[in-house]
């Protein structure tokens, strides 16, 4: 690294400059840091130009180039490239006009010329040290000056924050992941809004009835801002999502965000409990199946799991109601927040798919890990079976399982609409379904986007969990 070669003993400046140089190597970050610290960049750039002309670097480059040109090296290269191209065309039986060949040959030759020039320059510079000045070096020499350092912190604070984030691999990983999540959230808002915007449906006509006059429809559209241009509406919607104010719904004239805030916790609580119970049941089943592969127990468990994956939620819910509410009056058929007994059936129905998916994933991933070499080593060392399984196998098998849980949690939150309809739960899913017939654009928009945001946050948490639990990912993170 250049940073080590030019260490000066000034601790702060060295560390800062090393980070600065590293960031400059990365195209996206380079742009960001140059922009974030624009005032500092300008100062450094002016200093860089001054230093460069002072050190005589440019004159050396010119000198070397002229020397090379004079020796007729370029013409030599040109001839060689032309010959090469002609032979290539003859081999493949292609016919290319001479003009194009000449252009290609010139390109090849100049490329080679530059390469040789760089090599010669490097040789020359290694003889006389301290001649080549880079942008990073300029910053380094400036940073040693305490006055510049204080000034740059004042005028280029964002740049230093970026450098602090970049310097720590964990912080950098978290920042990148959060940035991605924010990008996805805006993308989702844009996508859902656009889908609803280009919809051929006419909510005004649907709500006001067929007898509505054109004026009434126009007034309706004006009240809800539907007559504004696309970009204005999009901007208002995104602003609304961020400020939790999506306005009033078309039907019922209720505040959309308040309605969603009332419904969302119901769905979230049910799915969360369902996930928890599902994982608690599925993990042991998967591990038992994996430790006895192809046994009767394994086949039975996996058959039941596949059955669980194949049952539609609404049918399962109906059968449960038929058996446990109608035939045997054990559980209430509709959900009531004050009666925990009524939550049992929805939770079981919601959790079935997740249980099945996690059990299958646990089995296959544990089986895969069990056949790894390090498990054989652990066994060969004479460790107890139980110890090998729990300490060495399950821990490593958990990584893909966590992914599946994260993904399935999202699917569950989205798919809750069906279960909510069966058990008459007033959650976010049934809210969206009720509103879609009009279509009540702000309500659907809010419901879908807030659900997607929740799922994105869950996925960020899952990803961060990985980073802290899996040593392989940790070491990979440090490398980049």
């Amino acid at each position: 690294m250049i940073g080590h070669a030019t260490a000066t003993g000034n601790g702060y400046a060295d560390r800062l400059a090393a980070t600065y140089r590293k960031i400059l190597l990365h195209p996206t970050y380079r742009l960001l840091i140059l922009l974030a610290g624009a005032p500092v960049t300008i100062i450094v750039y002016v200093a860089y130009l001054l230093l460069k002309s002072k050190s005589g670097y440019t004159s050396i480059v010119e000198e070397t180039r002229n020397k090379l040109l004079k020796s007729g090296y370029l013409d030599e290269l040109l001839l060689e490239a032309k010959d090469q191209l002609e032979r290539k065309h003859r081999f493949f039986g292609q016919t290319v006009n001479t003009e194009q060949t000449a252009r290609e040959a010139k390109q090849l030759a100049s490329q080679k010329f530059e390469e040789t020039l760089q090599v010669q320059l490097k040789e020359r510079l290694s003889e006389e040290s301290g001649l080549k000045i880079t942008f990073g070096d300029t910053y380094h020499s400036l940073a040693m000056n305490p006055f510049f350092l204080v000034l740059s912190v004042i005028i280029g604070l964002p740049m230093y924050l970026l450098m602090a984030i970049y310097a720590n691999p964990y912080v950098k990983y978290i920042a990148e992941r959060l940035f991605m999540a924010i990008f996805v959230i805006f993308g989702v808002a844009f996508l859902v809004f656009t889908i609803l915007y280009i919809s051929p449906m006419n909510p005004a006509a649907n709500l006001l009835g067929e007898t509505a006059t054109a004026e009434q429809i126009a007034t309706f559209n004006h009240i809800y801002g539907l007559d504004q241009p696309y970009l204005v509406q999009l901007w208002n919607t995104i602003k609304g999502i961020l400020t939790f104010d999506l306005g009033k719904s078309f039907a019922g004239n209720e505040n959309v965000t308040t309605a969603i805030a009332n419904k969302f916790p119901v769905t979230l609580t049910l799915t969360f409990i369902a996930t928890l119970i599902a994982v608690l049941i599925a993990l042991p089943i998967g591990i038992i199946s994996a430790t006895r592969p192809n046994s009767f127990l394994d086949y039975t468990f996996m058959f039941i799991a596949l059955l669980g994956l194949s049952i539609p939620n609404f049918w399962q819910g109906l059968i449960f109601i038929l058996n446990f509410s109608i035939k045997l009056p054990w559980l209430p058929a509709t959900y009531n927040p004050n009666n925990w007994l009524s939550a049992i059936m929805p939770i079981v129905v919601l959790g079935t798919g997740l249980t099945a998916a996690v059990a299958r994933m646990t089995r296959s991933s544990t089986l895969e890990v069990i056949h790894e070499d390090y498990i054989t080593t652990a066994k060969a060392k004479g460790l107890a079976r139980r110890h090998v399984l729990w300490k060495h196998a399950v821990g490593n098998a958990l990584i893909p399982i966590i992914t599946v849980i994260g993904l399935q949690f999202g699917a569950m939150l989205g798919g809750a609409a069906v279960t909510e309809k069966v058990f008459n739960i007033s959650g976010i899913g049934s809210y969206i379904v009720d509103k879609q017939f009009i279509p009540d654009i702000p309500s659907i928009m809010g419901g879908v986007v807030y659900t997607a945001i929740t799922i994105s946050i869950v996925n960020v948490i899952v990803d961060l969990l990985y980073a802290f639990f899996d040593p392989r990912i940790r070491s990979k993170m440090k490398q980049y």
Binding site: F92, M180, F183, V184, I185, G187, V188, F190, L191, V192, I195, L196, I198, S199, P200, M201, N294, L306, L307, L309, S310, I311, P312, N313, F314, W315, L318, I319, I321, L322, I326, G410, A411, L413, G414, G415, A417, V418, K421, G429, I432, V433, K435, Q436, F437, P439, I444, V448, T451, A452, I455, S456, N459
Partner: protein, 502 residues
């Protein structure tokens, strides 16, 4: 031969390596479970009596289960004592074949495998082809109890009989000749007849025809075709073959129903026959408009298969192409495509479908498009991962050195070699698509309500859950059976093709 002191491991090995033993235990257990389910269903708790028809069916299943378990113990004894199954035990397979009369496919397929010592993929395919046609014939024949039948019923049944006879003859021919290294010339005729019969939707016959032609053209020069290899590996798992059997049974039934089933029965209201319990004329009863549930479910299979296949095919193609381009060109192309798909990936499938249908209205085409859009990112990710892997291989470098264009390298060399995981993944997700279709229909967002689709039938039936539960139970069973079949097939294909799935 007999060695009294063989170790436990040897016994285990002999039992595990015998296909017949595994199939016998599987079919015995499944048919026992079915017999118990039927027995439970025949009991009426309110009166303490039994429904005679269901009870008889249950008893038949019990008898065949006992027979199968007896054969199972004989196979076990033979394997432990002699290391192979005796001829006399194999001959018992003919007795077990009778189970097909009680529609017990599990025992019947096991019996077919038991009869033949050396099983070839051609034999397996021919058996399954004949079984499929036989099943379709039996199910279509239930229509004769109805007050009237479709116009094409007689022609359809006649054709089905001919096809059944032809395919049974093929089973015998294949059993006799298919093991020979060089097939006799008349097999060309057999192969063409088979391909002709596959017009009914019986793809087993198509595969068998292609397999025979491949073998005829090959003239014993190579060890066998790739299709034969996959079928052979697939046929080792009873569950995946049964899954495929059920899917192709539904496909054939959907196609032949144009002749043998009357669409009027499924959609015309008949107020004199409202909510009839299952009887001979209406095997699954009638709904609240007096429409025959059995016909409705048969016609619903068509919609479910079409929507399931289309909403898998579209994202496979679009996602596959995007993933391939993304993985091959890398860098900025990759970044742009994958980030755009990340947005799509963040919205759960059902929710995105609801939003799209809310915007464009509920219809079958919109449903297919809505389900397709949500599934694109998954396929793109799978394809991208495979393309990344394959494009580092030597033959891709060789193609580049020869001056092939990027598109030729990508679509001729890389994509065909990274398609296996896509096949497995799509088979596994057709089931999900079928569930999503019926779920959305249940919510009133899917197929138009007047079309007999399984979710629509269930939605109507759910209103009569207390009094006429069967109207909601049977369509649900049909959905589960189809989804389960696709899942079994997908699992089997994954083992047979053995791609490295991420």
């Amino acid at each position: 031969m007999t060695n009294p002191s063989i170790t436990k491991q040897e016994v285990q090995f002999r039992l595990k390596s015998s296909q017949e033993y595994g199939q016998a235990s599987f079919s015995g257990i499944v048919s026992l479970a079915l017999a118990l389910v039927l027995l439970l269903n025949s009991y009426i708790p309110s009166t303490g009596a039994f429904k005679p028809v269901v009870l008889i069916a249950s008893l038949t299943y019990f008898i065949f289960t006992l027979l199968q378990l007896a054969v199972w113990s004989l196979i076990r004894r033979d394997l432990i004592q002699f290391g192979a199954i005796k001829r006399s035990t194999r001959l018992l397979g003919y007795v077990l074949l009778l189970s097909i009369l009680s529609a017990n496919l599990f025992i019947a397929t096991a019996a077919f495998q038991l009869l033949k010592v050396k099983k070839s993929s051609a034999y397996t395919l021919s058996v399954y082809a004949a079984l499929t046609t036989l099943l379709v014939f039996a199910v279509s024949a239930l229509n004769i109890f109805k007050p009237y039948v479709a116009n094409g019923f007689l022609i359809g049944m006649f054709l089905l009989i001919i096809v059944t006879v032809l395919q049974l003859a093929v089973v015998l021919l294949v059993a006799k000749y298919a093991d020979k290294p060089i097939l006799p010339r008349f097999m060309w005729v057999v192969a063409f007849i088979l391909i002709l019969t596959s017009v009914s939707g019986n793809l087993f016959a198509l595969f068998l025809g292609l397999l025979l032609i491949a073998k005829l053209r090959d003239k014993g020069h190579t060890s066998g075709s790739k299709l034969g290899e996959v079928v052979e590996r697939l046929s080792r798992s009873s569950t995946s073959m049964l899954g495929l059997l059920f899917i192709l049974f539904l496909l054939t039934l959907s196609i032949t129903s144009y002749l043998t089933f009357d669409y009027g029965m499924a959609i015309d209201n008949n107020y004199s026959l409202i909510l009839q319990s299952p009887n001979m004329a209406y095997p699954l009863g009638t709904d609240n408009f007096g429409r025959d549930l059995f016909s409705r479910i048969v016609f619903g299979a068509r919609i479910s298969l079409v929507v399931g296949l289309m909403s898998t095919l579209i994202p496979v193609v679009i996602g596959g192409v995007l993933g391939a381009i993304s993985g091959y060109y890398g860098r900025h192309t990759d970044n742009v495509i994958m980030r755009a798909l990340d947005i799509l990936y963040a919205i759960p499938g059902i929710l995105l479908s609801i939003a799209i249908i809310a915007a464009f209205g509920a219809s079958t085409v919109n449903l297919i498009l809505a389900l397709s859009v949500g599934a694109i990112p998954t396929y793109a990710r799978t394809m991208r991962a495979n393309v990344l892997l394959v494009s580092t291989l030597e033959y891709v470098q060789a193609a580049r050195a020869f001056g092939s264009s990027d598109s030729a390298i990508l679509f001729k060399h890389i994509v065909p070699n990274s398609i296996a995981p896509m096949i497995v993944k799509s088979t596994l997700t057709i089931g999900t698509a079928v569930i999503s279709t019926s779920s959305l229909s249940y919510l009133g967002l899917g197929v138009e309500p007047h079309i007999p689709e399984w979710g629509n039938i269930l939605k109507l039936g759910s209103a009569y859950l207390e009094t006429h539960a069967f109207t909601a139970i049977y369509p649900g069973l049909a959905i589960i059976a189809l989804v389960l079949s696709f899942n079994f097939l997908g699992d089997g294909l994954r083992d047979a093709l053995d791609p490295k799935l991420d």
